[in-house]
Symmetry: C2
Subunit: 296 residues, 2 copies
Amino acid sequence: MWKVIGTDMNTELDCLPCFTRQALDALNLVTSDDELRWRVMREALRAAAQFSSSQQPPEMAQIIHSIIREATGNNDPYHHLKKSSTDTALRMESVVRPVIENAINPFHMAVRFAIAGNIMDYALTSKWKAIDVDDFIEETRLQPLCEPHLRRFEQAVNRAKSILYLADNAGETVFDRLLLEQFPPGITTVAVKSGPIINDATREDAIEAGLGNVAELIENGSNAPGTILDQCSDAFLEAYHTADLVIAKGQANWETLHRDARELWFLTRVKCPIVADRIERPLNSWQIIHHPGVQP
Amino acid sequence: MWKVIGTDMNTELDCLPCFTRQALDALNLVTSDDELRWRVMREALRAAAQFSSSQQPPEMAQIIHSIIREATGNNDPYHHLKKSSTDTALRMESVVRPVIENAINPFHMAVRFAIAGNIMDYALTSKWKAIDVDDFIEETRLQPLCEPHLRRFEQAVNRAKSILYLADNAGETVFDRLLLEQFPPGITTVAVKSGPIINDATREDAIEAGLGNVAELIENGSNAPGTILDQCSDAFLEAYHTADLVIAKGQANWETLHRDARELWFLTRVKCPIVADRIERPLNSWQIIHHPGVQP
């Protein structure tokens, strides 16, 4: 077993109202049975009452969503939302692909779309709806993103002999594929969740997005949001610790990995004020974060 | 004992995240001891998990605030906020009084300020801060308020032989006094809470606001927000059921009384989307609501 290093992204008091809101939003997506919703919300509140401040927020999400799955008897409540996110992204591909290919730097533009795709997230809100493609492309082109970080990230990718890419949400994975097409061929493995959690991509979702055509697919052994290393399989940990470069998509990966010993690159939108505070970057900004690794 | 009629303002699922947020806001006002805050939040979450949808939201607030009072050993955590609200309102009086006296209809203008004062509320937010007096007066003059309701309310007051006025928050009570000065003299009783709850006015707060100079003061026998009749004293219920006219300030009074058998006039700001939905009025609007009474 690999040694697991602690994180300082502990749960804050401000996470508690947010957990309660997330639980209700998730539940509203899954069932309109009021008696069932009350029963599940009571269970979620009791679970939140037992949660330790030393645990990471994604662990709480894992607990809440396991309560919802069990109570509703629905093992993948976000199944149709994942499908429709992937379908939406696949339909956008024909418009997005030429924007990337005709860009001055296609790699940089593909990074932008990979972060743009991180909007397809049902963890913090159930409100994300239809995307206007023109607005989406315009925002993706213009969103402030640190240019020196973009260049350093490009260099790191081009120097790497092996890359492990930790995927985040279904649908977002289509844009991940467009980025992976810019990587040196044959060196990338994409890790997905081993079981449904919110709208995070599983193997099935990744295959639907075409990720299997550009990378090897592996599962991480866990159904937590982000990457909780002590829940991950030995096979995943082997890949994680031996890859030349690890790229982690989405905020939950930052929450769960940003204190780990190994070097990482995070690509994410900043969606939570507590995370924004920790990384000292604006809420709603797009970030490429280089984590040089922490010595144990 | 008086017969108590049920209410349909039951607790909604959407109240649960709001309770959690309110509990934390309240706690942040009272203590910065993180361990204590976690302990109280856990207790508040467990209490919320036990709460019944057939109970009224102000009952939940009563429970949460009793947990906070007990855990912090502070029987009146909002004491200094109530003092400073009253002080602020008393300082504004010299500016507000001539605006009322010089208005075309001083009674109507006084009603406006009584509703304006309902902003001094720490139940739903801890964020209310300094008031800019000029902005406050300007908003009070211009805020849409149903003119026919204003006229009917004025007529009802002038026809009444006895009035019971259910006060809401400390500080707001100064503006209540300016309204009561417009009432026929010697016919009004003001009811306040029997114990501290959030920043609701108690007898002491009402006296500081000068309400004792324009009306008889009584306590309602309860320390719940609003007026939960089955917690109220027989003396209060006697006054409530025999008064010619009952005027109830604030949203919690609407929540707890709007299905009662007796006729009531509510003066309030609409602060909660669920209440706004029930009364079919916009969120953040100011309302004079005539409740004709419900036959049991």
